[in-house]
């Protein structure tokens, strides 16, 4: 096999097997730290050996066996820790602790995901831990993604592992009764990763961080494969796919944000759009049988309406507004109200929309999109002066480089 072939095999194995190896080892040794280190060593060994020995016929099994051996080596080396590990192993495998019924959701990786996204951990910690343990990203990669110091990220993960152990955060899939709330916690982590990629902030960063959006989609696909019946998982995946489909059309060659209405729709990724639409149709069929959709499903449906229009003028705005009305009932947040107002502007005109947006002033005065929306509505109404002031405020608050470039041009075009 060529060098490139081996490298590709290793990358593929890392994508496909990392979480499985970490999960299996955590189950066996009852310790995330040992599992993580042994998995990392096993992959390092693969990088060393596979180019000479060839890629094993079953890379996953090879990696698990190698990682198991590394873990046992470490435990033997740290003789003092040995007793504790035995004890931990006994506790974790204790037959007196009732295990959840086996079924479709019995995948080791799910235990790992639910543990990393446990509500007793802070949100930023959940994100870092999930990207490390489930996604297999390195600490420097995670630190770069969130523009924090490596040492901060490293400490965050180390503390989380220590808390999981000391407080005995269980390594299991939550009971059916707790599952919806816990799944929603996992999805919040993945959505945060996706959004950080999609709306990347910071002067030195690319406007869209494809590595992060791709990782979020990959992990959401994994959850989807593990929990195929969950409507919100399908909804979030559809939402991400329909958003990702527009990625290349969303930033111009000069690095400026291109709003939805001005995008070259031919540049959208047709395969991602089709996959997203399939998922949305699946959820619409479920909704027709009386299953109320959650917020990700509604957001996905809104995106499906937009991506179904070949031309922005074909957009079914009344459908968009109806979906926002549904979303407002579920999530009466000012940000949802702001986005609803954008649909209102298309249906009832910018004046009606502006009145609705102005009512959000006390809640959204610090949010750049509030000022950008106002600036656009004021511009359409011919209030040049007020529009300019609103663009100024939006530019001051925006963090995304492409968005700043777009807002600046719009402002300067006011004349």
């Amino acid at each position: 096999m060529s060098v490139t072939g081996v490298r590709e095999a290793i990358t593929r194995a890392h994508h496909e097997e990392w979480a499985r190896v970490v999960a299996a080892l955590t189950r066996r040794f009852g310790d995330l730290d040992i599992a993580e280190e042994a998995a990392a060593e096993a992959f390092a060994t693969a990088v060393e050996r596979w180019p000479a020995d060839g890629v094993p016929p079953n890379p996953g099994a090879w990696l698990t066996t190698t990682a198991n051996r590394k873990a046992i080596d470490r435990i033997r080396r740290e003789n003092k820790r040995d007793d504790k590990q035995k004890e931990a192993r006994m506790v974790w495998d204790d037959p007196a602790v009732p295990s959840e019924p086996l079924g479709a959701v019995d995948d080791e990786r799910l235990r790992l995901i639910f543990t990393c996204c446990h509500p007793a951990l802070a949100m930023q910690t959940r994100v870092a831990l999930t990207l490390r343990m489930v996604g297999g990203l390195t600490v420097p990669e995670i630190a770069r993604a969130f523009l924090v110091h490596e040492s901060t990220t490293g400490q965050r993960i180390t503390r989380a592992k220590a808390k999981i152990k000391a407080a005995r955060i269980p390594y299991r899939v939550p009971s059916a009764e707790d599952l919806p709330a816990r799944v929603s916690g996992v999805l919040a982590v993945l959505f945060l990763v996706f959004n950080e990629g999609y709306l990347a902030t910071g002067p030195g960063t690319d406007p869209v961080r494809h590595d992060l959006t791709a990782e979020a989609i990959r992990l959401t696909r994994l959850i989807r494969a593990l929990l195929p019946e969950d409507g919100e998982v399908a909804g979030l995946l559809a939402l991400m796919l329909l958003t990702e489909a527009r990625r290349t059309a969303r930033v111009s060659a000069s690095g400026e944000l291109v709003p939805l209405g001005e995008q070259d729709r031919g540049a959208w990724d047709a395969a991602l759009v089709a996959e997203g639409h399939r998922l949305v149709r699946e959820r619409l069929a479920a909704a027709a049988t009386g299953v109320a959709p959650g917020r990700y499903q509604i957001l996905a449906a809104i995106n499906a309406v937009h991506t179904s229009a070949r031309d922005v003028r074909d957009t079914d705005w009344s459908q968009v507004l109806a979906l926002y009305d549904q979303l407002v009932r579920l999530d009466p947040s000012p940000i949802v109200a702001l986005n609803r107002a954008i649909a209102v502007a298309e249906l009832d005109g910018p004046e009606v929309a502006l009145a609705a947006v102005d009512r959000l002033d006390d809640k959204l005065a610090g949010y750049h999109a509030y000022h950008a929306t106002r600036a656009d509505l004021l511009r359409r109404l011919g209030y040049g002066q007020k529009s300019r002031a609103a663009y100024d405020k939006a530019i001051e608050l925006a963090g995304n480089t492409a968005e700043i470039a777009y807002l600046t041009r719009r402002r300067d075009q006011l004349g």
Binding site: P119, A120, R168, P170
Partner: protein, 109 residues
């Protein structure tokens, strides 16, 4: 696994004072289900005395070791198989006591 379960009250926004019967009933349940190890309500922080005998002689000071708006109003020690079980009980305890609850594991040996 044992957890120290602290009931936290807030001087500027104290919890209701009529919780005793509900707490007794909750304690009975904790005992019946095998979680109960210890429970005790605490007297006002004004009744606390801090002793520091690390120097030449013991120094006594009147009042709690830290003055704060929030203070410890009572404690439990629970035996629970894992944090999820402890957190579920703590969520109930917070309702029963009408106060915030902190769950903290004891050090393993």
């Amino acid at each position: 696994m044992q957890y120290l379960v602290s009931v936290i009250d807030d001087k500027s926004n104290p919890g209701r004072t009529d919780r005793r019967p509900a707490i007794s009933a909750f304690n009975d349940r904790l005992i019946a289900e095998g979680y109960w190890v210890f429970a005790g309500g605490l007297a006002d922080t004004d009744a606390a005395t801090v002793i520091d005998n690390r120097g030449e002689e013991a120094v006594f000071s009147d009042g709690p070791f830290v003055e704060s708006k929030e203070y410890l109003a009572g404690v439990w020690v629970w035996e629970a198989p894992d944090l999820d079980v402890a957190l579920e009980l703590a969520a109930e305890a917070s309702k029963v006591c009408d106060r915030k609850i902190e769950v903290r594991p004891f050090l393993g040996e």
